[in-house]
Amino acid sequence: MSYPLNPSLFNDDVKQEPIRAGFGRGLKAAGETNELVVALCADLTESTQMHLFREAFPKRFIEIGVAEQNLVTVAAGLARAGKIPFTSSYAAFSPGRNWEQIRTTAALNNQPVKVVGSHAGVSVGPDGATHQMLEDIALMRVLPNMVVVAPGDSIEAEKATKLIAENGKPTYLRLAREKTPIFSTDDSPFEIGKAYVLREGADISLLGTGTMSYQLLVAANILAEAGINAEVVHVPTIKPLDEATILASARKTGRVLTAEEAQAAGGFGSAIAEFLGETLPMPIKRVGMKDRFGESGSPAELLEYFGMTGAGLAETIQEFVKIAPRYHQDT
């Protein structure tokens, strides 16, 4: 069954919405379904969209103030008391500042603390490098017990939030601040741990996570005009990886490009390279931040500068396809 894409995906007026908005709706819905869900915020309640939950369930909302270490450790205590705590702040501060607390009291302690990092990636824009969290995927995916999810749009973020509430595990949910084009539909599938082929192709597998999956779809359209038939695979769950879907696509096309709005080192592309390097070694190109911080600018300017728009990605892919031999089953 093919993945139901938003039919107006490639229109100029494609509906856009911040991914965090989907989180806000999803959390409120999770709170309605399950009274064990509680929410904690570090003085950024509207910005992280937790205000919807706060208004609906004031008794289950806890203001922590600007104290990210306390944010996740109070949550660990609530989890021990049987609650399902969602914590939110900007990703630069949580998990940026409180990683050890997450490691010890959520991951090793194996409590279902949900760390929601909003404002991840360069598309945070004018706030500049301090607030553009790029290392969070690497930091969180190395933790045993931790699940790492980066939804591609607001509809998917809503679905992901509801499922994360019920998965019983410490989980990192990575959200972007800017309006992001919506490529999925209400009927599109989403499960934690699953990757989805958004577009079938034979020449190269384009693997995206978070906001980059939409950009890869745009890139694939540009590439089609140049005679390159790219397969686009959306990988919203970075840990655990959907190895079967990734392997099937890579085996079919014989070469892979990954894209993420994060440091390429240690991030999503690295996770794919580690997996394929050990199972089906083949040429891999990783698009992401290359050992540098971001800077101030408009989100669109920054994505273009760092080669993370559809057009920029198409260019990189064309260059890569020229030099990268394809994996052959018999080699």
Partner: protein
């Protein structure tokens, strides 16, 4: 657990816990001596009088909750738990050994009866505060309490003061903290490394009810917790003045014993001192 042990029987229990600590640390060949010995009276009071817990049913829903924040002192908790019947006393010598449930620093998932995982300092008070918040405001349970033991060196951590503000703001009256005020940390005296005084004034300024007690006087420890439970508009912090290494004279007050276990000869000497209550008992009875 709630028992009918008298104060002198509780003191004997604290002595048993100290002997266990020496035995297990010697067997482990590594670990911390001073802190656990200094906390033995507090743990005897908690595990045999104060805490409403059931060793045979560690997840009993109506239990009191105990969090250990300074995880390196866990030998005293393991010893108290074993003496209380959570697991066999024989298992104590597996401390820090491969395959043991008694990890060098406590891991909740390894051993039933532990409420948290700790070691990196400064995070226990927050977890206790989270649990106490859940009781007081979400589940509206009034007959259970959350206790947490912290070290004094650990108060250097910023996370502690974030939790202090949070508990003060929310008037978490079912939260009872102990500070093991033994005045030592790894690099020396707490007041040289990073001064904590006026410690009582600091906690009061954060909105806490503060008690200062002799941390080796079991009656004072029990009384302080009763007082804490009676305070209904603030969390309580009990600053328990203790002697690091208490009960073994050559370890007392000597900060080199913070992170060191006794060797065989030292353990033998320490056990003899504990058995005879440092020479006060000249005729050792049977069964000691």
């Amino acid at each position: 657990m709630r028992t009918n042990l008298t104060i002198s029987q509780l003191e004997a229990k604290a002595n048993d816990i100290r002997k266990d600590i020496i035995t297990m640390l010697e067997a482990a060949g590594s670990g911390h001596s001073a802190g656990p010995l200094g906390l033995a009276d507090i743990f005897a009071a908690l595990y045999f009088n104060v805490l409403n817990i059931r060793p045979q049913e560690p997840e009993w829903a109506d239990r009191d909750i105990f969090f250990l924040s300074n995880g390196h002192t866990v030998p005293v908790q393991y010893a108290a738990m074993a003496e209380a019947g959570f697991f066999p006393v024989d298992e104590l010598v597996t401390l820090r050994k491969f395959g043991s449930r008694l990890q060098g620093h406590p891991e909740r998932e390894k051993l039933p009866g532990l409420e948290n995982t700790s070691g990196p300092l400064g995070s226990g008070l927050s977890q206790a505060a989270g649990y106490a918040y859940s009781m007081q405001y979400i589940d509206e349970i009034t007959n259970r309490f959350v206790y947490v033991v912290m070290g004094d060196g650990e108060l250097n951590e910023g996370n502690i003061w974030e939790a202090a503000m949070f508990a003060g703001k929310n008037k978490l009256s079912q939260l009872v903290g102990f500070i093991d005020r033994n005045n030592i940390q790894i690099d020396g005296s707490t007041e040289d490394v990073m001064p904590l005084e006026d410690l009582k004034g600091k906690w009061e300024a954060f909105g806490w009810h503060v008690l200062e007690i002799d941390g080796h006087n079991i009656e004072s420890i029990i009384d302080a917790t009763s007082q804490a439970r009676a305070i209904t508009n603030r969390p309580t912090m009990i600053i328990a003045h203790t002697i690091p290494g208490k009960g073994v004279d050559f370890m007392e007050y000597d900060y080199k014993w913070h992170g060191m276990p006794p060797n065989h000869e030292q353990a033998k000497l320490a056990l003899e001192k504990l058995r005879t209550l440092d020479g006060k008992i000249t005729h050792e009875g049977a069964g000691v």
